[in-house]
């Protein structure tokens, strides 16, 4: 089948579906019509789209953790704990890494070993292996909307299973669940496979059942310039809308510069709405998700609380519809349920304190927002041009050409030529443009910003900056200042480390 950004016909969809359901025994017998009946019974307070709409209309930012363990009962316990002890507003089921690679045999092994050892040896919930039956048990045992969060290039069977089970949201997309998560899976394949996932949601929409879809905004979580992740999010939203998805949450991972963060997520919502309408998708209900810092965390738990809280503040001031919460264990490993609840409680405290407050508009924010939109448009225009008007084809060609280019991505289909770094205020800029097609004005803006920093730090603008920035937050700073003595550093040392 040839890749094209075009709604799958029901016939095509059903043809593919037959194959999909055979991928693992639990696929057998999943019945769309029976699911429709089941999904119609989902009470409003367990519907993802309903709760998002309520939050958006009331100006509330919801908090959602990540969480998943190997076994069903433990998973249910975990989720209910995060609801009652953490105060989570929305529940996840983070899917394990074998499932993400469709290695269901290894999942089976992980499940067995977890049972034997009495602790989870999988880093998430193996939804496919547990099947509709297991996933429904989870759905019926919790009292909040449920979403699958994963990183699965081919999530077709998983999507069939979770939606059949009453989970009313699915994270992912053909770009965002490929480039950061896979090494050798082609974009043709993942875009096609995610068209299927979207078409499934579109089918349910046609039956009057609203299901939410969320492109994964932060990508590699590591110094992705806002315009690059926004471009990807908008493309995935458009691809989803084409398949009939009507409830979309576009996401963004915290950069750390408050003005840039607020500007970025506001620009994302505006611009995505503009593109949706311009493309004729008029009935999409769009919301936003802000991810607390997605890069390397500091090991110290108190410092982690600082990072978490700053993320909550940015999310709240930006007016994001929901925020994805990190935990004080982030630098170590999958959090205990207690550590997970701690992250949510710190976050909710901040959200409550700021509930009535938004970031007041400033010149800085207006300028930043304008710049992000201009950059994003350059990228998307070029994608469309490369695809001769077809967004799906354009996306594949744009990655080939390095027009779309995600820093630190593992995929061989990603050029990896673009390099980011922070400017002197901590905002993320383009250090090396690679083949990202920016106007001269934009290039100059980015260069000047980085030159400013380089001058301040008495060094050259180069890859060493990027590396220093990768480490910075985990070492307790936003900007990776060089360790050689700057005047400021000298001056600090004079006061702090001098001994008599």
């Amino acid at each position: 089948m040839e890749l094209k950004n075009k709604k799958l016909s029901m016939d095509e969809f059903l043809r593919i579906r037959e194959e999909v359901l055979k991928q693992w025994p639990t696929g057998e017998g999943i019945d769309l019509e029976a699911n429709v009946a089941f999904l119609k019974q989902v009470p409003e307070h367990k519907s993802f789209p309903a709760k998002l709409r309520w939050a958006k209309e009331n100006g509330i930012t919801l908090a959602q953790p990540r969480a998943g363990v190997a076994l069903i009962d433990e998973h249910i316990q975990l989720l209910n704990f995060l609801h009652t002890e953490g105060g989570a507003d929305l529940l996840p089921s983070t899917i394990d890494s074998y499932t993400r690679q469709n290695k269901y045999n290894e999942c089976e092994r992980g499940i067995t070993e977890s049972r034997r050892e009495g602790r989870s040896l999988l880093n998430g919930f193996p939804g496919v292996n547990h099947g509709v039956h297991g996933c429904r048990k989870v759905f019926e045992s919790v009292n909040l909307p449920l979403q699958a969060r994963h990183g699965t290039p081919d999530a077709r069977l998983l999507s069939e299973i979770i939606h059949a089970a009453g989970w009313t949201s699915n994270e992912g997309g053909g770009i965002s669940y490929n480039i950061p998560y896979a090494k050798k899976v082609s974009l043709e394949k993942t875009i096609t496979d995610w068209q299927y996932c979207d078409r499934l949601v579109g089918y349910y929409e046609e039956q009057g059942i609203s299901i939410n879809r969320e492109p994964f905004g932060p990508l590699t979580g590591t110094l992705v310039p806002p315009s690059m992740s926004n471009a990807v999010a908008i493309i995935e939203a458009l691809l989803a809308a084409e398949q009939g998805v009507k409830n979309i949450t576009v996401g963004y991972g915290q950069c750390g510069n408050l003005v840039q963060d607020v500007a970025a997520i506001r620009a994302l919502e505006d611009q995505c709405n503009e593109y949706l309408i311009a493309s004729g998708y008029n009935n999409v209900y769009l919301t936003t998700v802000f991810h607390q810092w997605m890069g390397g965390f500091p090991q110290d738990e108190s410092k982690a609380f600082g990072v978490i809280s700053l993320g909550a503040i940015a999310a709240s001031l930006a007016g994001a519809t929901k925020v994805i919460v990190k935990t004080p264990h982030e630098a170590y490993g999958v959090p205990t349920k207690e550590a997970n609840a701690q992250g949510i409680r710190a976050t909710k405290m901040v959200l409550n304190l700021l509930q009535e407050q938004k970031m007041p508009l400033s010149i800085q924010q207006i300028n930043e927002s304008r710049m992000i939109k201009a950059e994003t448009q350059c990228i998307i225009d070029k994608v469309l041009e490369l695809g001769d008007g077809d967004l799906a084809i354009g996306t594949v060609r744009a990655f080939e050409a390095g027009v779309l280019d995600i820093p630190f991505a593992p995929s061989v289909y990603n050029a990896g030529k673009m390099m980011p770094a922070r400017d002197n205020d901590g905002a993320i800029r383009y250090l090396d443009f690679g083949n990202v097609p920016f106007s001269d004005e934009i290039k100059e803006f980015n260069r000047n910003k980085l030159e400013e920093r380089a001058m301040y730090e008495h060094r050259e603008v180069d890859f060493k900056m990027t590396i220093d920035d990768v480490y910075a937050v985990s070492k307790g700073n936003l900007i990776g200042r060089p360790e050689t003595e700057t005047d400021a550093a000298k001056s600090i040392k004079k006061y702090l480390y001098k001994t008599e």
């Binding site: 890069g295 630190f408 990768v470």
Partner: protein
């Protein structure tokens, strides 16, 4: 070559940032880095070592399945005749925040020569590898 190392992230693990930085650091330190990247199986590590005559494997596992993924690697090396292969492993080796000494013991028992805790400095690995390979200290 004595200073050839195979670098990679084992298992179904896609964490690429540390890998790119380890590549940069070991290369800059003068090693000949054969980077097989993320999502690499035990077989891919062994094949790369056989092909290049590498003396050490610098293995990362971030995503928590390290325990399952690393089991049996020493035995496979022995079978392949890679007898004195230095096996280094680091990252977030198990699921969750665990007592580090226990984790370390577990991996040493599995036949690894060096085991590094979360967020370990690549420079430490480089110093250790120079020692273990009896390479001269850099001027």
């Amino acid at each position: 070559m004595t200073n050839t190392v195979v670098l990679g992230v084992i298992g179904a693990d896609c964490h690429a940032v540390g890998n790119k930085i380890l590549d940069y650091a070991f290369s800059k330190a003068g090693f000949n880095v054969v980077n097989i990247g993320v999502l690499s199986s035990q077989e891919e590590f062994i094949n790369a070592a056989e092909e290049t005559g590498a003396k050490a494997m610098i293995i990362s596992s971030l995503y928590g399945h390290g325990e399952i993924d690393c089991r049996g690697l020493r035995e496979k090396c022995d079978e392949a005749g890679l007898d004195d292969m230095l096996l280094y492993v680091g990252g977030n080796l198990v699921v969750g925040k665990h007592d580090w000494e226990e984790v370390k013991e577990k991996f040493l028992a599995m036949g690894f020569n060096r085991v590094y805790p979360p967020g370990a400095d690549p420079e430490q690995g480089i110093r250790d590898l120079r020692d273990d390979l009896k390479l001269p200290k850099p001027e």
